[in-house]
């Protein structure tokens, strides 16, 4: 009972801290950092989506960013003037659907793509699956890059701009809003939007993990043959994992498009897939808190580097010797090697934590 109360207080403190986070960040580091925090939230959502596929079901997916792209372009096309270029007679002003209609559609469409990717790869595992999914991710990106002819559907490498901002209760999040005398700039507003969705994604992940479906996924991850011998329909459950993961990706993509107001294929490169995968692996596959930690670290660290390395080098050498971007890759690689050597299961591996908490939880149930 006592630990229950303690965790409730902890939760309340955490919630208040999160609610104040954009204001704290704004005052301490400046507005640019609030934007970085917003992006970190998007990455967390992506990483948690990928965690379902990689962490729970054990299917190595190197093309995950493709689902993000599907979601992003879904809203980019249906929430911008762009389609007026392709179909001037049908949509003279483009299509301007409400974000809240497009969001579930984007999730469903991405989920459909997830099944599309999952179905032909059901028999593949490990590195073979990784190669096929990698190819899938690239195919989507290349499609987006080239679908500006014969009909200009995606505007090719230039991307789609002037995407409508997300409206909440009739108020666009792209302009500063005054609520109860406090002024909320757009990055703050989007932060709260993303926070809500991240909370939802965490909730869904958690519920799935502790369910019959989640156990079946983990059984497939551990030993697919034994799982099928225990009566688990491995085909359906793997497709479900692909679909669920892809839906998270698609929903985050739509959020991304609304937030940025602009999408282009270069946001969906292979590097981004690898980045999200690294968040899952680094944080601790299959463990929600670990994955969140991985997402925060990998989304924020490069920015910290960018803001610290340049002035540091200028102070030391009077010029920039190592470009922060290449330094980022160097540190990234080193970090991964060190991780694989010393903490192969991630910063917060799922099992250790589970075992610590597990006995209480079960005692509680019984």
């Amino acid at each position: 009972m006592r630990s229950d109360k303690k965790s409730r207080i902890l939760f309340a403190v955490l919630a208040i801290a999160l609610l104040l986070l954009p204001f704290i960040t704004d005052t301490l580091f400046g507005r640019g950092w609030v934007r970085i925090v917003d992006f970190a939230m998007l990455y967390i959502m992506l990483a948690l989506g990928l965690n379902i596929v990689v962490g729970y079901a054990g299917l190595l997916d190197l093309g995950y960013i493709a689902f993000f792209a599907v979601g992003a372009y879904c809203y980019a096309l249906t929430g911008s003037p762009h389609l007026a270029l392709a179909f001037p007679l049908v949509f003279p002003d483009g299509v301007h659907l409400s974000f809240w209609i497009v969001l579930p559609l984007a999730a469903l469409l991405a989920g459909g793509f997830g099944v599309l990717l999952g179905a032909p790869t059901l028999r593949l595992r490990g590195d073979y699956l990784a190669i096929v999914t990698l190819g899938f991710g690239e195919i989507i990106r290349i499609f987006l890059n080239n679908l500006n002819a014969p009909v200009n559907l995606t505007n090719g490498p230039q991307g789609i701009s002037r995407i409508d901002a997300v409206n909440v209760a009739g108020a666009p999040l792209s302009v500063t809003q005054n609520i109860l005398g406090i002024s909320f700039p757009p990055v703050h507003l989007y932060f709260y939007l993303f926070l809500t969705f991240t909370a939802l994604v965490i909730f869904v992940s958690h519920r799935l993990e502790k369910s019959r479906i989640g156990r079946a996924w983990m059984a497939i991850r551990e030993d697919e043959i034994a799982a099928s011998a225990m009566g688990i329909n491995t085909r359906d459950l793997k497709l479900l994992a692909f679909a669920m993961g892809a839906m998270f990706g698609g929903a985050s993509g739509a959020l991304f498009a609304g937030f940025q107001g602009f999408v282009s294929p270069e946001s969906f490169s292979l590097m981004e897939s690898i980045m999200v995968l690294c968040m899952v692996v680094l944080g601790g596959m299959g463990n929600i808190i670990g994955v969140i930690l991985g997402g925060v670290l990998l989304a924020v660290l490069p920015e910290v580097l960018r803001h610290s390395v340049v002035p540091m080098q200028q102070a030391m050498f009077g010029k920039i010797v190592v470009d922060p971007e290449s330094l980022r890759m160097l540190l990234f690689g080193t970090a991964l090697i060190v991780m694989m050597l010393y903490r192969p299961a991630g910063l917060l591996p799922s099992r250790v934590r589970r075992r610590e908490l597990g006995s209480d939880e079960v005692a509680e149930k019984a």
Binding site: M218, A229, G231, M244, G358, V362
Partner: protein
């Protein structure tokens, strides 16, 4: 097929003397190699049926056919009155065949309890919406799953805490955990692939007691075993495979005296 299945089900309902499992002319080729040819046998409800034979005789292949891992190249089998030719493993588990593996295949990084809970998958229903809403029905089901899993851990005699990871259990307990996991699927036929392999005399003795208890609980047992003493003392009937063919079948005492069996085991004879 559907008519046949329906007929089969009817027969199963009305005729309990019908064999639980009936193999007719099962053959399995791997490329040019014939691992099984024309194997026919039947297993009655409530018996402990042994399958023995020298290494490479095709016992595990036959097991994999029965449990749906392999599709037979020839023949078909009937389980509980339903015909199966192709088996998807999960369908056979659903139909009531559960198995263990020769080289233990537990879900190593999951707890003992979770391993057994996964065995309940096939007899429970909660889907994604159940998981997300966690409504009363789902909560009840989860509770029942955990409860039953605990019972089974106790039943097979695992003394370690239920939260121990499967990979941290002792070898003997891992074998027992596999049996518990298989029993969690509420099987009518429990197929055990060399459950006593690598066990010492004490462990084998307690395994024998466990298998008898399981049979007395109404589960038919199919057993591949190398430990002849265990087979002879435990099984009601025994079939002997050699080079993919059934060379003998009957009560253990008869089979033991069968010249073909002695030949196969001692490697003599070229008849």
């Amino acid at each position: 097929m559907t008519l046949r299945q329906a007929q089969g089900r009817l027969e199963a309902v009305y005729d309990n003397s019908l064999p639980l499992l009936q193999l007719s002319g099962i053959g399995k080729q791997f490329g040019g190699l014939s691992a099984l040819s024309d194997v026919s046998l039947h297993i009655q409800r409530g018996e402990i049926y042994g399958l023995i034979g020298p290494n490479g005789a095709g016992k595990t292949t036959l097991f994999n056919v029965i449990t749906g891992l392999y599709q037979p190249s020839a023949g078909e089998f009937q389980f509980n009155g339903t015909h199966y030719q192709t088996g998807k493993p999960h369908m056979l588990a659903q139909a009531g065949i559960a198995r263990t593996f020769q080289n233990i295949r537990l879900f190593a990084n999951l707890t003992a309890l979770e391993n057994v809970m996964i065995g309940r998958h096939v007899r429970t229903r909660a889907g994604v919406f159940g998981a997300l809403l966690r409504n009363q029905a789902t909560r009840n089901e989860e509770h029942a799953i955990a409860e039953r899993a605990r019972e089974l851990l106790h039943y097979v005699g695992i003394s370690q805490p239920a939260q121990t990871l499967a990979k941290h259990l002792s070898y003997g307990e891992q074998r027992r955990l596999e049996i518990a996991r298989a029993l969690a699927t509420d099987p009518q036929l429990l197929a055990l692939d060399e459950p006593a392999a690598g066990m010492n005399a004490t462990e084998t003795a307690s395994l024998r007691t466990l298998l008898q208890t399981i049979r007395d609980g109404g589960v038919t047992v199919l057993l591949i075993e190398h430990d002849v003493k265990l087979i002879m003392g435990l099984c009601d009937r025994v079939a002997v495979l050699d080079y993919g063919k059934k060379i003998a079948e009957g009560v253990p005492e008869e089979v033991r005296k069968d010249p073909a069996v002695i030949d196969a085991y001692l490697g003599g004879g070229n008849d």
